[in-house]
Assembly symmetry: C2
Homo-oligomer: 254 residues x 2
C-alpha cells in the first residue's frame, strides 16, 4: 500500500483533444503528460496508465498513444519496463541542452542579453574553416566576433564563420536579435549541430573582455550547425565564463 510506488494517477478528465487542428495528436497528448509530471500531478515513481487503456479513454489508436509516451521517455522523464509499465523517473527535472543559441538561453532565464560586436567582416577561409563549412579553401566567408552579456555582465566571447551567401548581414540585426534569430528570418532552419565541449585557460585579451582574472579557467564549445538540407551554415568557436554558464545534458539509453 506504499502510496509512492503504486500511485496510479489516470489524470481525470483533462483531455479534450483538437482532432482537426494542425497540432499532431501525439504531441498534444505528450505535452499534457509532460505538464502533469512537471507540475507534480504525476509524482516521481508513479505509474502511468497502460498504453491500450489510455488509448481507449482518449479515443486514440495505440501507436499514437505510444508515440506520445515515447517522446517523454526520450526526454528522460519517463522510464519503461516490459511487463511492468511506465513510471516517472525520480530526481528533480533539469533543463536539457537544446539546439538553441546563447541568446535564447539567456532570455529563458529572465536575464537581459546584449551584444558587443567586435568584428563583422569578410575573411578568406583557411583550411580548418573550409573543412568545417564544407567550402573550398580560400573562398570568402563571413567572420563575426562578439561578446555576449547578461544583465550587462560579460558571459561569452563568440567567433563565428558563415558561408559566402550570408555576407551582408546587418550589424544592427546582429546586435538586436542574435545570430540564430537573424538566420531564421532569412529562412534558414537549423536541424543538426555537432558540438565539442572542453576547457582551457583564458588569454589576456579574453580576460579583459570577460572581466575576469588572467589565466582563468574557461569553458569552451566548438559547434558546426547544419540546416534542413544538410549543408553547414555556421561554424563557431566560443568560450564562456564558467561561473556564469554551463551545459546540461540528459542522456537516454535506448
Amino acid at each position: 500500500m506504499s502510496a509512492k510506488e503504486e500511485n496510479t494517477l489516470p489524470m481525470g478528465m483533462f483531455m479534450d483533444l483538437e482532432r482537426s487542428g494542425p497540432i499532431p495528436l501525439y504531441f498534444q497528448v505528450s505535452q499534457r503528460i509532460e505538464k502533469a509530471i512537471l507540475s507534480g500531478e504525476l509524482p516521481a515513481g508513479s505509474r502511468l496508465e497502460n498504453e491500450v487503456a489510455l488509448g481507449q479513454r482518449l479515443g486514440l489508436s495505440r501507436p499514437t498513444v505510444r508515440r506520445a509516451i515515447q517522446e517523454i521517455v526520450d526526454k528522460g522523464l519517463l522510464v519503461r519496463r516490459r511487463g511492468i509499465g511506465t513510471q516517472v523517473v525520480h530526481g528533480q527535472v533539469t533543463r536539457k541542452v537544446e539546439l538553441t543559441s546563447l541568446y535564447d538561453d539567456l532570455t529563458n532565464t529572465h536575464k537581459v542579453p546584449s551584444t558587443h560586436l567586435l568584428a563583422l567582416e569578410t575573411r578568406v577561409a583557411d583550411a580548418k574553416t573550409a573543412e568545417r563549412l564544407g567550402v573550398a579553401e580560400g573562398s570568402p566567408t563571413l567572420y563575426i566576433r562578439r561578446v555576449r552579456l547578461a544583465d550587462d555582465v560579460p558571459v561569452a566571447v563568440m567567433e563565428n564563420w558563415l558561408p559566402e551567401e550570408f555576407i551582408g548581414i546587418e550589424p544592427n540585426d546582429l546586435v538586436a536579435h542574435g545570430l540564430y534569430q537573424v538566420l531564421r528570418s532569412r529562412g534558414v532552419t537549423m536541424r543538426v549541430a555537432r558540438q565539442h565541449i572542453g576547457a582551457r585557460k583564458s588569454t589576456n585579451e579574453e580576460s579583459v573582455l570577460l572581466e575576469i582574472e588572467k589565466n582563468a579557467a574557461l569553458l569552451t564549445m566548438d559547434r558546426t550547425a547544419f540546416d534542413n538540407s544538410g549543408r553547414a551554415v555556421e561554424f563557431g568557436q566560443h568560450c564562456y565564463r564558467p561561473d556564469l554558464y554551463s551545459f546540461e545534458v540528459t542522456l537516454v539509453e535506448k
Copy 2:
C-alpha cells in the same frame, strides 16, 4: 546532372534480413544504412530512396522502414524534408556522447585504462548527496574516489556516491572493471543520466594527482544516473584534464 546532389544510391542487393531472429527488423535496416553512410557508400548530400519504394524492395511495411530511417535521423546523419526526400548530412561524422562510463570511452579509443583507488568507504549522506540520490539525509552511502589513467597518464579524478545497497563492492572489481561494469554485473541497467558540464581551476591536490601545473583549467562533469525503474543509482563529481578529454554532443532539432 550534378552528381553530388542527385546521387541516388539504392544500395544494390545487400539486404538479406533475418525475419525470425531476435534482432528487430528496423534495427537491422538502420544499421546497414548507417554503415553505408559511414563507409562513404552513401556520400554526403546523396538522396535516399523514398520510404515506400524501399519498403517494397525489402518486403517491409512503411512504418518499419520509416522507423529505421528515423533512428539515423536522430543520430544526426540524415536530414528529412517533406516533399523533397531524405539526404545524408554534410560534414564528417563524429562520435556522439553516450550513456557510457569513462572506462568504456577509453577502451574505445584503444588506450589502456587503469585505476588508482583513493577511497572506498561508507559515508553518511549530506544534504546535497541525499537530494541527488533521493535518499534520506544521514543515511549511509558508498563513497568512491579514483584517479583514472589512460596508458598510465592520469586523465580524471572521479568521486562517486552510491545508495546503501551497493556497500560491499570489492576494491579489486572496481580497479579491474570500472564502476559501470560492476553495476551491470549486479543487474543494474542505466537508463537515464543528467549531466552538468562546466570548468574551474584545479586545486593543488588535483594538480598533483593529474600531474599538471597548479591552477590549471579543468573540465568538470556532475552526473546523476537512474536505472530502468527510475531510481538514482549513482551520483558523481568528476574533473578531467582538458588536454586529454572533452565531450562531443550531437543535437537534432525535432
